[in-house]
């Protein structure tokens, strides 16, 4: 077994020669041989020298002779009171995408939204955000947006005026026999009201609601068993034992930000002496984000989910389901059942199954465990999923029957997302069906429409959202609509002939709805305006709901017999929604495309996850002998596709997995043609509900190699150990040094590197002792120097500020919100698939994923890794131009304009967090040859003035040829310090919060001043569970991590 028993991937475990070679070089892809070859072919002579000299001189002369361009300054004519140029204004609003929701604050500068923060007044999320919420500000500046209303012409769409489009549409509506409004979940009570108004004018209208990834069975089961068609208010924070059947509740399922916050509350070790945490079992075939955080993963094939649920239900409520031939899972589920029974009322079973009877059994289990009313709460039930795709099937048959004349698509894409999309498309293209897109940007569905009535972005709209009964979050515009668009509610009111009028008609409508709604039901405020100002300011209105716990009523025995049956197929494939782009809704957002999947660590495409086979000695074989980046032919049912492969630890043997949401067509520049579409590979069950797996699947052997394999897992690794062919272990990085020192190796300290520490809850005291012994030893090594650190830095950081960061690895779930927040805050460029495949991704903050434990079913550690701001930084003393140096506040500073691009610093960084601008990713210079388009566009991302509006004006946009890295959000530190100075008070923790810290839904990241004795960071730094990565290298980093603790039930074999 491995040292520390931790590995990063298959290449690491097997000592892949190429990988080891690569990890020795900081910069991949430019080997010395190549450079030498290039030099030979390009011998310079004296003539060349003179030519260059001459060119240089004349260029300098020309440059000197140029006039300095005249710059203009345009003041306001009438300055709005709320805007001070140069000072950010924050507005409370909401992130809403279908049923996905997050209460947010929008940071605007000079009237431009540039950053999303969480709204900490919302008890639901406590200020956390998701990667999608963070990235939503970029979609506002999407260059593919509809810029105005359009009518379908002979060749594509023709721009039109609103009046003409409105008239054409109302004519159609008036003469229509049946109108269907197709939509995703609508969270806004006011929008629902607008739809009611519309229906009043056009009574032959029916609303068809579905969700991009369905929770139809869950809703139906709750309706059948509890009489309420809602998602209950799950309380993961109240559960001591959590069992999830394939529900990725930390990543994508229903309300991940909320659940992540709740979940982490019981995962953080508050007291190392008396530790306690919840236990989490995940029953799944692929490794989901949630599964990777689980203590025990129980592997069952996708088609066995039903049998597994029935088996557990049988143990708890009695009865028996279909035959279940998975002895390991059975054994494990026996233990799960006994632990659930021991935690009645404080356990929770959830399932993402889209089979009604499986969901009924889950309800039965929760009911039998007494969880209804405690962890499964129906007061304040969630409204975040309301749809069922079975309605789409009836729509298709109605269309085929010629009953429907007008179909309105409200910002949804059923033709792509729905399993029966092809049939729907055919039904829609029948003669006489008038299709209207209330759309944001081109999509598979919108492109079929006859008229496009473009809608606003949420950040341009008025509105509200009711994610849970009794909790309403406001949506207020933070910018005027950038284009000639109109929000959905207003457009419907317009067509209904009920435009409330005024300067901002929808605001009037919204206010009217609130006046008669929430305002009428409260007693605190007498005047409406005061009430209105308060909710607009807070952004969230929590009246609290509350209905008695419903009674359970179901025929468990019948459901037992009607769950899905194990297929017995050799190979099964599961389809899943990715944390980043959902089911394609966010595919056109480059930040999300470039965000690596937390588990597979791939981006820009969907990769077929195949299991890793173990030969029993030290060799790992990918499934079918496949390796990372191999291309295979995947055959699902009748459909054949060519997909690249990623070897995935924890993927159940006999199963593969592929993400939904890719393979978009004719939509946006960064979505087109990326990956393959598998939405048509799902199957629909008897109830018309989507089953996100398929048992009729074949995977070929290797047929080629992916040209640009964009997986970041093996990029920027550090502390890698590997095994030689004779079985001995060595440190891959040290091997590089060994060459330099004649094969004798280097100081012994480097062989046993401290990268991450982990333990099981019951071994915690012992492991802490081991860790602290190692830390002591490291300290001892660090003192054995001619230049003792403490001596020569004495007094340097004793006053003023000394910044530091603490990352609680037990709170971190790896969701990636911080990485996107970092991109938004620090103007980090998007580089595209090819560049990522060349190790050129520019992210300042990456989340390293480590596996440990069992080889086929491992546990996972996520370690957010950013510049550690070492007080004894190795990068600083190798810079020939002093471009990177240390501040008196402990910051490792990077002066871009001083950097000449030698990259010595990046070579010398033990954490590999420095990024080099190989090309002109930001289009900052004038040479097009240096620029790189991300997905075959004409212009690179960021070259458009619209996209550039998202840039943070306080952060320099870096040009080609310079190194950059995490700055601890120095612009925020300076701003916070200035605020404290202006107010003449001490600096507070709240003044200095980094972007990653504010984005985190679990509060895993704490930033602060180590010299502030009363501060949060000072307390956290005292925890005995802390360690410092690579402490033995004496770099004195400013970031501390906590030991990762799991609560694995060791009696269950993996």
């Amino acid at each position: 077994m491995k040292q520390n028993n931790i590995w990063i991937g298959e290449k690491d475990l097997t000592g892949d020669k190429e990988f080891i070679q690569e990890s020795q070089n900081e910069f991949n892809g430019l080997t010395i041989e190549k450079a030498e070859l290039a030099a030979e072919n390009h011998q310079s002579n004296r003539r060349d020298f003179l030519k260059f000299l001459g060119f240089g001189l004349s260029a300098a002369t020309v440059a000197a002779g140029c006039d300095i361009p005249v710059k203009r300054a345009l003041p306001y004519v009438v300055k709005p009171d709320s805007i001070v140029p140069g000072v950010a204004t924050y507005y409370a609003s909401s992130y809403v995408s279908g049923g996905d929701f997050c209460p947010i604050l929008v940071k605007t500068r000079e009237g431009r939204p540039i950053k999303i923060e969480g709204n900490s007044l919302a008890t639901m999320t406590g200020g956390g955000t998701s990667a999608r919420a963070q990235a939503s500000v970029l979609s506002l500046y999407d260059t593919n947006r509809y810029t105005g209303p359009m009518m379908a012409g002979e060749s594509g769409f023709d721009m039109a005026e609103w009046d003409a489009v409105d008239k054409a549409i109302t004519d159609k509506l008036k003469s229509a026999r049946n109108i269907r409004l197709v939509t995703n979940t609508i969270l806004s009570p006011t929008d629902r009201r607008a739809i009611e108004e519309f229906k009043a004018s056009y009574p032959n209208t029916k609303v068809v609601t579905y969700d991009p990834v369905s929770a139809g069975a869950l809703l139906k089961a709750n309706e059948l068993t509890f009489g309420q068609r809602v998602v209950p208010n799950y309380r993961f924070d109240r559960a001591k034992v959590i069992v999830s059947f394939d529900a990725d509740f930390l990543g994508t399922w229903i309300s991940p930000v909320e659940y992540t916050a709740q979940y982490s509350r019981n995962r953080v070790i508050k007291d190392a002496k008396n530790p306690s945490m919840s236990r989490h079992f995940q029953v799944e075939s692929r490794m989901s984000l949630t599964g990777s955080n689980a203590d025990n993963r129980i592997l069952v094939k996708p088609s066995e989910q039903g049998a597994a649920i029935a088996y557990l239900a049988g143990k708890i409520v009695g009865g028996s389901g279909p035959a279940f031939n998975n002895p390991e899972a059975k054994k494990a589920l026996d233990k799960v059942a006994s632990q659930l029974s021991a935690n009645r009322g404080s356990s929770l079973v959830v399932s993402a199954s889209n089979n009604i009877h499986e969901q009924i059994l889950v309800n039965a289990i929760n009911n039998a465990l007494g969880n209804i009313g405690t962890t499964v709460d129906f007061s304040n039930a969630s409204m975040q999923r309301q749809g069922s795709e079975s309605e789409l099937a009836s729509l298709a048959s109605e269309l085929n029957g010629g009953l429907v004349d007008v179909v309105i698509f409200n910002n949804c894409n059923p033709v792509y997302e729905y399993g029966g999309g092809a049939a729907l498309k055919e039904a829609l293209s029948k003669q006489g069906v008038f299709k209207i897109a209330l759309g944001y940007a081109p999509s598979e569905t919108n492109n079929l429409c006859n008229a496009v009535a473009p809608i606003n972005h949420t950040l341009e709209s008025w509105g509200d959202a009711e994610p849970k009964k009794g909790t309403i979050s406001m949506i207020q515009p933070t910018i005027r609509p950038l284009f000639n668009t109109r929000q959905m509610g207003l457009t419907l009111l317009n067509w209904a002939g009920k435009n409330p009028g005024g300067d901002q008609p929808y605001l009037n409508f919204l206010k009217g709805a609130w006046r008669s709604g929430a305002f009428a039901n409260q007693s605190q405020y007498v005047g409406f305006e005061g009430f209105w100002d308060k909710i607009l300011h807070d952004g969230i209105y929590e009246a609290g709901g509350g209905s008695a716990a419903p009674s359970f009523n179901a025929d468990v025995a019948s459901s037992m017999s009607r769950v899905s049956k194990p297929s017995g197929s050799e190979l099964e494939i599961s389809f899943f929604e990715q944390v980043s782009i959902g089911n394609g809704e966010h595919a056109n957002n480059p930040w999300l495309q470039e965000m690596p999947d937390p588990v597979t660590r791939t981006d820009w495409g969907n990769y077929l996850a195949v299991p890793v086979g173990f030969n029993g000695v030290n060799r790992f074989e990918g499934f079918n002998g496949l390796k990372d980046g191999d291309l295979v032919t995947l055959k699902v049912g009748e459909k054949e596709m060519t997909v690249p492969v990623i070897q995935q630890f924890g993927q159940m043997p006999g199963t593969v997995a592929l993400a939904l949401g890719y393979g978009r067509e004719n939509t946006g520049l960064s979505a087109n043609g990326i990956g393959v579409n598998v939405n048509d590979c799902v199957s629909l069950d008897d109830n018309g509900l989507t089953q996100y797996y398929n048992t009729n699947v074949e995977v070929s052997g290797k047929i080629g190699t992916e040209k640009h394999f964009s997986c970041v897992q093996y990029h920027h690794t550090y502390g890698v150990t590997a095994t030689k062919e004779d079985g001995t272990e060595f440190n891959a990085d040290e091997q590089a040094l060994a060459y330099a020192y004649g094969g004798s190796g280097y100081q012994g300290a480097l062989t046993d590197r401290s990268v991450v520490y982990n333990t099981n809850l019951k071994d915690l005291p012992e492991s802490l002792k081991v860790m602290n012994d190692k830390r002591e030893f490291a300290e001892h090594l660090n003192e054995a120097t001619l230049y003792p650190f403490d001596e020569y830095t004495e007094g340097k950081y004793s006053q003023g500020h000394h910044w530091g960061m603490h990352v609680d690895l037990n709170a971190c779930t790896g969701c990636g919100a911080c990485t996107v927040a970092c991109m938004a805050e620090n103007n980090i460029p998007v580089v595209g698939k090819r560049e990522v495949s060349r190790h050129h991704e520019m992210t300042w903050l990456r989340i390293d994923r480590y596996f440990y434990g069992d080889l086929t079913n491992p546990n996972t550690i996520y370690q957010p890794m950013m510049c550690q701001h070492c007080d004894n930084a190795p990068c600083e003393n190798v810079c020939p131009v002093n471009a990177t140096n240390h501040s008196s506040e402990g910051l490792n500073q990077m002066a871009y304009n001083r950097c000449v691009g030698t990259r010595y610093c990046a070579n010398n960084c033990p954490f590999k967090v420095r990024r080099f601008n190989w090309l002109d990713y930001n289009t900052a210079d004038i040479f097009p040859a240096n620029q790189v388009p991300i997905n075959g566009e004409e212009k690179p991302h960021g070259a458009d003035n619209l996209t550039r509006m998202v840039l943070n004006p306080d952060v320099t946009v870096r040009s080609r040829g310079v190194i950059e890295k995490c700055s601890f959000c120095v612009q925020r530190l300076q701003e916070g310090k200035l605020l404290a100075k202006k107010e003449g008070r001490k600096l507070d923790d709240m003044d200095v919060r980094t972007a990653c810290q504010t984005a985190c839904p679990t509060g895993a990241i704490t930033f602060g001043d180590r010299n502030n004795k009363g501060g949060e960071l000072y307390e956290k730094f005292k925890s005995p569970m802390n360690f410092i990565a690579l402490e033995e290298t004496n770099v004195r980093s400013s970031v501390m991590y906590t030991m990762k603790v799991n609560n694995r039930d060791e009696s269950i074999e993996a």
């Binding site: 300098a60 345009l74 003041p75 004519v77 006053q799 990077m894 001083r898 200035l978 100075k981």
Partner: protein, 465 residues
């Protein structure tokens, strides 16, 4: 005895200098202010040309036959002196036949100042200083240069003498050995290898020095004083009328930008002040046009962006014309008047519109004078609100600038220098209590002050991020 005599001399000297102390010499600057404030509207500032009033140069000579007080009286209230029947006053009245405004508020000193200014403007025309370093620097540099030149000269002289001595010694030595050294001609000397090498060397050094110097200064704009769309005078606003800098530049205390004021800030005063000191209606009408304000009706135009240019032209031409009529007490526009209306309107249009901006209504596109590179973060409020730095330290005497110009080089060296020399305002700001060691040292007397550089003011990421 000696002591006594010395003190007597001293007394004498003191007595001599005393009158100069009490009655200060007339000041050019004060005179300029008075002229701008009161005289400039009617009298030509060249002092040699006639305007509404006569050319002022030589007025003292023309009044030399009468007591100085008469000239004072004339300036303070000319009509009174005419009524008295003062011969020179009557003579002037007959010649010009127009009433000069009375200025009873002017003191004798004011009048002396302005008379001095009038004389001085003509006799010592001001040397136009185009940017360049401040006078202090020039002086100190000048002195330094002089010393260097003297030293260079002395050294050169020494080299010459030594050369002569060596060559003579060589000749003597050669003569002793019996050979006869041929003395080289000048041409030979100048074309010798050594001389050519020296010339090349000197050329490279000089060229390199100039190149480096010029490159370092690339992009710097000290003294940059572009013509602005509105001839806004800081001198009149900040100097004469003493409007506080932060009345208009209200971002300075709370934001990174000092902020060019919005047009509605101008309108706060200019709704009442509709005609300017120097340019009359020519410049202030541009403010009205930008704000969409109709001065004829004293009302804002509804939705001015959508009003056609012809309508706007009619409004503002009427205003300019009416003002001309009122000023000249005319009933109908004469040729000059029509000319003024057309020129001023043309100027308004050309100043407020460009390729992108077709309407005169809307933001005024000022030319930005102080430009920092994009990779520099500068925050006004840090310096103004926290550091208590005077605007003047970086922007110079704006209150004396008719046309605003960049006073400081805005180079990194200039910033750094100030950070080295400036004290941090430790007192009374609780924020700085985290610097406990410095507070202690200050208390103990081990430290006189805490400079900005002591708390990290020279570090890269204080300004570059």
């Amino acid at each position: 005895m000696l002591n006594f005599r010395f003190s007597k001399h001293l007394f004498f000297l003191l007595a001599l200098s005393f009158p100069f102390v009490i009655s200060a010499e007339p000041s050019f600057d004060d005179g300029k202010k008075v002229f701008k404030n009161y005289c400039g509207t009617c009298h030509n500032k060249s002092m040699l040309a006639r305007s509404t009033g006569p050319a002022l140069y030589g007025a003292e000579e023309r009044w030399a036959d009468y007591p100085r007080e008469d000239l004072y009286k004339w300036i303070r209230n000319s009509q009174a002196l005419i009524a008295e029947g003062h011969p020179r006053a009557v003579e002037l009245w007959n010649e010009w036949n127009s009433v000069m405004n009375p200025f009873p508020q002017l003191t004798d000193d004011d009048i002396e100042n302005v008379l001095f200014y009038i004389r001085d403007v003509v006799e010592n025309p001001p040397v136009v200083v185009n940017g360049g370093p401040t006078t202090n620097e020039t002086e100190s540099k000048g002195l330094g240069d002089w010393v260097y030149w003297a030293l260079l000269f002395a050294l050169g002289f020494l080299v010459l003498i030594l050369g002569r001595i060596i060559s003579n010694l060589n000749k003597i030595a050669a003569a002793k050995e019996g050979s006869f050294a041929e003395s080289k001609t000048l041409t030979q000397l100048l074309t010798s290898k050594g001389a050519i090498m020296f010339l090349i060397f000197a050329g490279v050094i000089l060229g390199g020095y100039t190149t480096v110097n010029n490159s370092v200064n690339l992009g710097r704009q000290q003294g940059y004083a572009p013509e602005q769309p509105i001839k806004f005078s800081h001198e009149i606003h900040a100097g004469i009328h003493k409007i506080d800098c932060q009345y208009c530049h209200d971002g300075a205390r709370r934001s990174k930008h000092a902020v060019i004021p919005a047009t509605n800030t101008c309108m706060n005063c200019h709704r009442a002040i509709t005609s300017g000191t120097t340019h009359g209606t020519a410049e202030i009408t541009k403010i009205f046009a930008s704000a969409g304000f109709d001065p004829n009706t004293n009302k804002y135009i509804d939705n001015p962006e959508s009003v056609p240019m012809d309508t706007l032209a009619a409004i503002y031409k009427k205003w300019i014309g009416d003002q001309y009529l009122f000023k000249n007490e005319l009933e109908e526009l004469d040729n000059e008047g029509e000319n003024i209306v057309e020129t001023q309107w043309a100027d308004i249009v050309s100043s407020l519109t460009n390729d992108q901006k077709k309407s005169i209504v809307g933001p005024i596109e000022w030319e930005r004078i102080h430009n920092l590179p994009d990779h520099v973060y500068f925050n006004h409020s840090q310096h103004v609100a926290v550091g208590g730095v005077e605007c003047e330290s970086c922007h110079g005497k704006m209150e004396e600038m008719e046309v605003a110009e960049q006073y400081a080089p805005l180079s990194m060296g200039w910033c750094i220098n100030c950070h080295r020399e400036t004290d941090v305002q430790f007192d009374g700001n609780e924020y700085y209590e985290s610097y406990a060691k410095y507070h202690e040292e200050l208390k103990e007397g081990d430290r006189k002050s805490v400079k900005v550089s002591d708390i990290g003011g020279l570090e890269c990421q204080k300004c570059h991020y």
